[in-house]
């Protein structure tokens, strides 16, 4: 992968994946949001779905000639400028460690930090919501301190509970419901993130911000 230019790849005939060069700082993500807005109403695009400094185009129909769509996507990327979305600040109380944070020891082992240092580094930043994904209402967050980054687990866990606060690589997030995960769970919170009867059904959206407040640390 060339770090200078965007990469476009196919996910079967169902979707295209656009991966932007560079880091995952907020300014880069704002350009992804702008690209999603610019291409979301193209006739062959069913939905433009932001990821972490990338964008998946779910296709309404597979175009005969892929090259044309790829070229237009690259042009659109060159044309768009960062789109600053202004959202809400949501505070989530977190119990770190203990039964609700079964993989804290793995993060300690990988980073060489103490539990208190990990909690301090995890709860200090304001985390902008970059994208939704994984499962209904789940948010991918930017802004984690790279010193607590920990690789995803070699074998995914079959089920972690809703409210689990976890670290996967250089990212952190909160599970919105019970389910499988390859991330390291370090704590837990209680909050309802998704209600299909609401419009929009998700509590949070790109542009909102989360703060993790330390409710308790179980060492």
């Amino acid at each position: 992968m060339n770090p200078e230019t965007p990469s476009i790849s196919v996910l079967g005939t169902s979707a295209l994946l656009f991966e932007a060069p560079g880091g995952t700082e907020l300014l880069a993500q704002q350009r992804i949001w702008a690209l999603a807005k610019a291409v979301g109403d193209w006739p062959e695009v069913r939905e433009a779905v932001p990821g972490m400094n990338n964008l998946m185009l779910s296709l309404a129909r597979a175009p005969r000639h892929l090259g044309d769509l790829e070229s237009r996507l690259r042009e659109a990327w060159n044309d768009v400028e960062a789109l600053a979305l202004k959202g809400r600040l949501i505070e989530l109380p977190v119990v770190y460690g203990g039964a609700g944070g079964p993989h804290m020891a793995d993060v300690v082992a990988h980073t060489g930090l103490t539990v208190d240092e990990i909690v301090e580094r995890h709860s200090s930043p304001l985390y902008p919501v970059y994208a939704l994904g994984s499962h209904p209402g789940y948010c991918y967050l930017g802004g984690m301190d790279p010193r607590i980054a920990t690789p995803r687990r070699k074998v995914p866990v079959l089920s972690i509970p809703g409210g689990a606060v976890s670290i996967g690589g250089a990212q952190t997030g909160v599970s919105a419901s019970d389910g499988p995960s390859g991330w390291n769970t370090i704590g837990s919170t209680t909050m309802r993130f998704f209600d299909p009867r609401q419009d929009p059904p998700a509590l949070l959206q790109p542009g909102d911000t989360i703060r993790f407040r330390v409710e308790r640390v179980i060492r």
Partner: protein
């Protein structure tokens, strides 16, 4: 109205899936064998995407509490209406009080593991976020957002429709559109972004060896057993959108194919994607069976979609001749 008599879990209400809600983290769900669901609906004169009951565990029984036309597609399950054996992929009429029995999938002309019980007008459950499919992870859609239980009652949307237009069927696509390599069911795969980051030996293994579908396989994903696949270096990726069919390879080297209840995003390296036109073949591959992967191109994958569409159009034409 029908009533579920079986205690066996895991049967769900599905349609062709929920599209357009990925931005809220909502995956597509939908029938594991979309072609069987569409075919059953065609047979009954329903919309192709009407909801049906997907049955993955057998035996399975329902009782009809009113007269209703129906069709059972997907796996050939030695189906009976009361004591009368029924042809698979065929339209039938049930009288109020009759019991439909689905037995074990047969090892006959085609091997499959999921059956679709399709009802006249489709299964009438509310559409949630644009679909009647069950979203198990989010606990919404389908029947109360969960798998069916003994005693559950479901309604056909148009039980009175088409009762005089029964007694015909279709040749299943497993027979009409077979795809095998060395006698093993096969699926075409488009290489994905990280394909080149796997070792030459692992790429060779991927295309030439058989992959066993392990017991840890379900509507979320199929975990495959075989020679572990190795990347040339550790790959830590950013989370991005994925679709059913994407084959992720965690660092342990055992591939996981995302299926219809898969999450809509992931971060493991992707070696390839089972193309949309062949996903039904994998959806019907039983636990313990083996499959092969065939490398394909964009043009071939689009042509395969066209072929599936043509098969469905021809099926509709034949059914219309019977119904008119």
């Amino acid at each position: 109205m029908i009533e579920i008599l079986s205690a066996s879990a895991l049967a769900t209400v599905q349609d062709l899936g929920r599209t357009g809600a990925l931005r809220w983290g909502v995956g597509t769900s939908g029938a594991m064998d979309a072609l069987a669901l569409a075919s059953g609906n065609l047979l009954l004169g329903n919309e192709e995407g009407a909801a049906a009951i997907e049955v993955p565990v057998f035996p399975f029984q329902i009782r009809f509490n009113e007269d209703c036309a129906f069709a059972v597609t997907g796996a050939d399950c030695a189906t009976r209406l009361d004591d009368k054996p029924l042809l698979p992929w065929w339209t039938h009429e049930a009288r109020a009080g009759q019991v439909l029995h689905l037995g074990l999938p047969q090892q006959g002309r085609w091997r499959a593991c999921r059956a679709y019980v399709c009802l006249a007008g489709g299964v009438n459950v509310p559409a949630v976020l644009g679909s009647r499919s069950t979203q198990l992870r989010g606990a919404f859609g389908g029947h109360e957002g969960r798998a069916l239980r003994q005693g559950d009652r479901l309604h056909a949307a148009a039980p009175g429709r088409g009762r005089d237009a029964v007694g015909f069927g279709l040749v299943p696509p497993a027979v009409a559109l077979p795809l095998q390599v060395d006698g093993v069911p096969a699926m075409r795969v488009l290489p994905a972004a990280e394909y080149r980051l796997f070792t030459d030996a692992s790429r060779e293994v991927f295309w030439t060896e058989e992959w066993k579908i392990t017991a840890q396989s379900d509507r979320y994903g199929y975990r495959l057993a075989g020679t572990p696949l190795q990347a040339t270096a550790a790959i830590e990726m950013r989370s991005h959108g994925i679709v059913p069919g994407v084959i992720q390879v965690p660092s342990g080297g055992h591939p996981i194919v995302q299926m219809r209840d898969a999450q809509p995003s992931g971060g493991y390296p992707k070696i390839g994607t089972v193309i949309e036109a062949d996903l039904w073949r994998l959806g019907q591959a039983p636990i313990g069976s083996r499959v092969r992967f065939i490398e394909t191109t964009w043009d071939e994958a689009v042509a395969a979609l066209d072929e599936t569409r043509r098969w469905l159009d021809e099926a509709r034409r034949l059914v219309d001749l019977q119904r008119s």
